[in-house]
Symmetry: C2
Subunit: 468 residues, 2 copies
């Protein structure tokens, strides 16, 4: 009861009902008000007094002495909201937070998820390397700043297949491509920097560059990809700038840049000393013909930072990617990585080393490509059935995505929430762009064929209702 009385007092004072200097009724009256013995009131007043909340006023009894938060609520937590609001790094936008959350809630159908489903993963190959690793008994110590040397050697061999001649000292192992971008952002860019990106870009859905205070500017595009000479040269000169592109099976549009545009882009950027981040996460996911060589393969002046990853082509849970670039940059990024998390998981790094060394990764890719192609064809078939009169879309030749453009303008924000109520999760185009967008990113990599059918059908019905 003492506690309740103390807490009643605190609340009245906190709310401002009782003010500093106000005199309390005599103990006998308080005992009546609370319907308790006088000794209970004495205990409560004694505690309030020890907290400095009340004190005796000569000749007048007891008065309220303090109404500050810290006196009243010493048991209250720190004002955490204030910390959250004033933290340096901004929150994800609500749509992204919702996507990150609902992806893990059954029975959601994930129509846009940018990862392979479990059935596309090479479980036997992974088991094989886990067995192998169990026998090897390598110690899982901290690794050197650039990452496991054995892995970097295997990657050099692997890069040769893509016309890239790279040394282990030019590779930094990272925990996925997103971390690569984070490291580049905080290590090489600053408050006065501009990142030029395709006018629809995966990167726009992230806060990774905004973090370091950097601006993002859209580059106008044509069918060949971003048009370098449309870049505003004035902006270019204002601070350290960089260009970010996904030239191969672009996220979210699915497009691949032709080889003449690759040449032009590099030439223009070289002339203007504008470094390029080439994000090549989807390269291996072609259906029939291998795509154009990486821009990095024609980079004779260290202009390109080349990013890769096995998150899309093997299993994202390994959290392994890489940055290829000039040694001075790789060392700088490695130093910052050491300050960030002391390196990527050694277990994951060893697993990928063995998958590459034993050609298990290559074997897996052959089967993955044909499965992805079949899935893309199935989704295209569903679109032709349910969306033939409502939208247009690209025919992908690799990667994960179909970039669906709705013929009639509807609120894709509303579509997102309405679909979610029907357990369908989609990535609306506006999270990737600089303006309102009639687009939806669809992915055929995650949902099962049954889910695709249910999902695409329901989605078409929802949209049909919205455009009436």
């Amino acid at each position: 009861m003492v506690d309740q009385i103390v807490s009643f007092f605190k609340n009245r004072i906190y709310k401002g009902d009782w003010l500093c200097g106000d005199v309390l009724p005599p103990q006998r009256e308080l005992a009546k008000i609370f319907n308790v013995n006088r000794s209970t009131i004495v205990s409560a007043l004694s505690e309030l007094s020890s907290l400095g909340i009340i004190e005796p006023k000569v000749g007048k009894g007891t008065m309220i002495a303090n109404n500050s938060w810290s006196f009243l609520f010493t048991n209250s937590p720190p004002d955490w909201n204030h910390y959250i609001e004033h933290g340096f790094h901004k929150s994800n936008i609500p749509t992204i937070q919702a996507i990150n959350k609902y992806e893990f809630i059954d029975p959601i159908i994930r129509l846009s998820t940018g990862e392979v489903s479990s059935e596309l993963m090479p479980h036997d190959a992974i088991s094989k390397v886990l067995f192998h690793l169990a026998k090897l008994q390598v110690p899982f110590n901290y690794l050197e700043p650039l990452g496991l040397y054995e892995l970097r050697v295997e990657l050099c061999k692997y890069f040769k297949k893509h016309n890239l001649d790279i040394k282990p000292s030019e590779i930094l192992i990272v925990s996925g491509s997103l971390q690569a971008l984070q490291l580049i952002s905080v290590s090489l860019l600053g408050g006065n920097s501009t990142v030029f990106v395709e006018e629809n870009s995966y990167i726009k859905s992230l806060k990774v560059f905004e973090f370091s205070g950097t601006r993002m500017k859209a580059i106008p595009m044509d069918k060949e990809g971003p048009i370098p000479w449309m870049i505003d040269e004035k902006t270019l000169k204002e601070g350290n700038s960089i260009l970010y592109t996904i030239p191969t099976f672009h996220n979210p549009t699915g497009l691949t840049m032709g080889s003449s545009r690759r040449n032009e882009l590099l030439k223009w950027c070289k002339k203007n000393q504008l470094p390029i981040i080439e994000d090549d996460a989807y390269r291996e996911l072609y259906f029939d013909c291998p795509p154009q060589n990486p821009i990095k393969s024609i980079d004779d002046s260290g202009n390109v930072l080349y990013l890769g990853s096995v998150s899309k082509s093997l299993a994202p849970g390994l959290r392994i990617g890489w940055i290829v670039g000039p040694e001075s940059i790789i060392n700088r990024l490695g130093d910052i990585k050491m300050q960030t998390d002391y390196g990527a998981s050694s277990v994951s790094q060893w697993m990928l080393t063995l998958l590459l060394r034993d050609h298990l990764y290559e074997e897996h890719l052959i089967s993955l490509r044909s499965k992805l192609k079949a899935r893309s064809q199935y989704m295209l078939h569903l679109l032709e059935t349910y969306f033939y009169d409502m939208a247009t879309w690209n025919i992908p030749s690799g990667g994960f995505y179909i970039w669906l453009k709705l013929n009639k303008p509807i609120s894709t924000e509303k579509l997102f929430t309405t679909a979610l109520k029907e357990n369908i999760l989609i990535n609306p185009g506006y999270i990737y762009g600089f303006k309102k967008s009639p687009y939806i990113r669809l992915s055929y990599s995650y949902a099962s064929t049954k889910e695709m059918e249910t999902g695409i059908k329901s989605l078409s019905q929802i949209i049909r209702k919205m455009i009436v």
Copy 2:
């Protein structure tokens, strides 16, 4: 030869030897100067002309038309140094960079390394869970923002042993404690924040807080640990502040805070609404008696963010740690983690889940403790032999470290480089402190007993020479 002439021209122009508007000698003369055929000169001039570097001047021959960097060196890389210098995140100090580098160069003896050597790792237990995982064939997809649910459930059970009653929703899985600090720094602190730290602290060797523009302030210490009421209250009110402490087997001093100081510290911080980061990475590494309960166990108001990790007690290469705190904070940190690297390695998270579930971690700790105790005794024996008249040190009751204080002042910067020349790597005290330091952090967790003997002996000889 054409290339060489072109490059000769470019360099003279770049250096300012030849200025814009200067007229070139006639082709015949140039041919003589370079001792080549006139056709070679014609080719070289044609290339320079196509680059826009020279152009014809009516009636006067050919003149230098352009001397800007981008015209002269279209093949040159971007000015990467400028990017490095203006990047947002500061480099490690040279001593730390050297430590990170030399740790991987044979035949260095690592006398200060803060990790367990391979012989202290539970290779059989790790093999067991790798086999188990190979059979389970769990898909390694992206995980939900807070990390693998199964792991968080196992951790809740584990925490009970330390008097902590935690829910899975109050835990964020991170890639080691360093990342925990990084996330707290960028998510909750800002340019006006102060981090209070013990006057010697592991954290001082990192840039993790400075990154978000936050200041670090030392808290005076006595034998019981940091003295909270010595904290400057004015600083406290200036912005979001936080207190960072390693109360158990402190890095680098080896000290453990007694239970009355733990109580006082929490009480003071609660009163002042100052959140505490309790870094408890060394808790399990006691020699005889378990240490005091965590401060978190007496935290009834969500005042403490509690950090743990298996990097010190199992294998750092897993890169797995955790943050325990109020749900709102954990969700905020999880959102930022998703923007940083999309989560820690799923493989590592599954491995730790199985190690905890099958009690393999507990079993390993029993053997690790006795091995560490024996190693600490051996190092103490070596110190008594070689340093008895030159230094004083603590007798550790757990953890990794001996904090050696040299009796006579010498330059520990010089000691660091001199020892390195003799292949001995030490962590000098100044990397952990706010002022010059007569201390060296020694660790008995990494070097073999033979290396310890050679290393400690050589180190004593080097110091003996320096104090003469």
